[in-house]
Amino acid sequence: MMTPAGGHDEVEQLLGAYALDALESADTEQVERHIRVCPVCRAELAQHREVTGLFSEVGRDRRAAPGQRVHC
């Protein structure tokens, strides 16, 4: 498969972080340039977004969940 601009292998590693809005601006721009031309990464990103959309339904709260280790 052809490799679109922006380094497909590098960008695909960033897609999870991008879906979580966790990238610095240079990485964000790299992902955005790449997904414009790469349907494979666009599709993966859409899948990550579906998952993060579900996260919004379970908020973080102050209770420690059963079995969860709380680190110091």
Partner: protein, 193 residues
């Protein structure tokens, strides 16, 4: 005049609603708000932990839908997901602004891994919320913590790398792996994505 229109609108699909919004139909925007404002506000509140800031973020999301409806592409996903994506991006921007950091105090810095997932809203139902929570808890610690710190606290990979004492590249690939694994878990549990 609005009544028959409004009655028709609740039968429209989300995509058709966005088409109506693009034609400047205010009641279509009101219907989109009725359907999705709860989760949009809920997410903004979870990240911002401040009702006024969350309301402002939610308002901006719907204003953006009103002014730039063409940014929603029905082929790329659901309207709900699109709006939540906007809400998260907006909330995270606010978190990263200095004023908000001061407003939120030092809680995030002091409790990087405390807390958990809970306080679900009824929108998707308890069952799905429970499955999502279980899927996240099933992740390796580092992936779960990285997801919580980025998604709920608005931290960047760089900040998470410092908090967890991991290389930034490992955090990035861990987030991707964590989202994929969560998706697989949810799919096996029969959650519709």
């Amino acid at each position: 005049v609005a009544a028959p229109n409004t009655r028709g609108l609740d039968e429209l699909s989300d995509s058709a609603l966005v088409v109506a919004i693009a034609r400047w139909q205010q009641d279509a925007l009101a219907e989109a708000y009725r359907r999705h404002a709860g989760p949009v506000y809920g997410l903004a509140y979870r990240v911002l932990r401040d009702p006024a800031l969350a309301e402002e973020a939610a308002r901006e999301v719907f204003l953006r839908l009103w002014t730039r409806p063409e940014h929603f592409d029905a082929e790329r996903g659901r309207l709900r997901t699109f709006l939540l994506t906007l809400a998260h991006g907006r909330a995270v921007d606010v978190v990263r602004a200095d004023t908000s950091r001061r407003r939120r105090g030092e809680r995030t810095a002091l409790e990087p891994t405390a807390g958990g997932l809970g306080a679900d809203r009824e929108v998707w139902g308890q069952e799905v919320a429970g499955q999502v929570r279980a899927a996240i808890f099933g992740l390796p610690d580092n992936q779960r913590q990285a997801i919580e710190l980025t998604y709920f606290d608005g931290q960047t990979c760089r900040e998470v790398a410092v908090a967890l004492g991991k290389p930034e590249g490992a955090v990035k690939s861990g987030l991707r792996a964590g989202l994929r694994r969560t998706r697989d878990e949810l799919t096996s549990a029969g959650v519709e994505l």
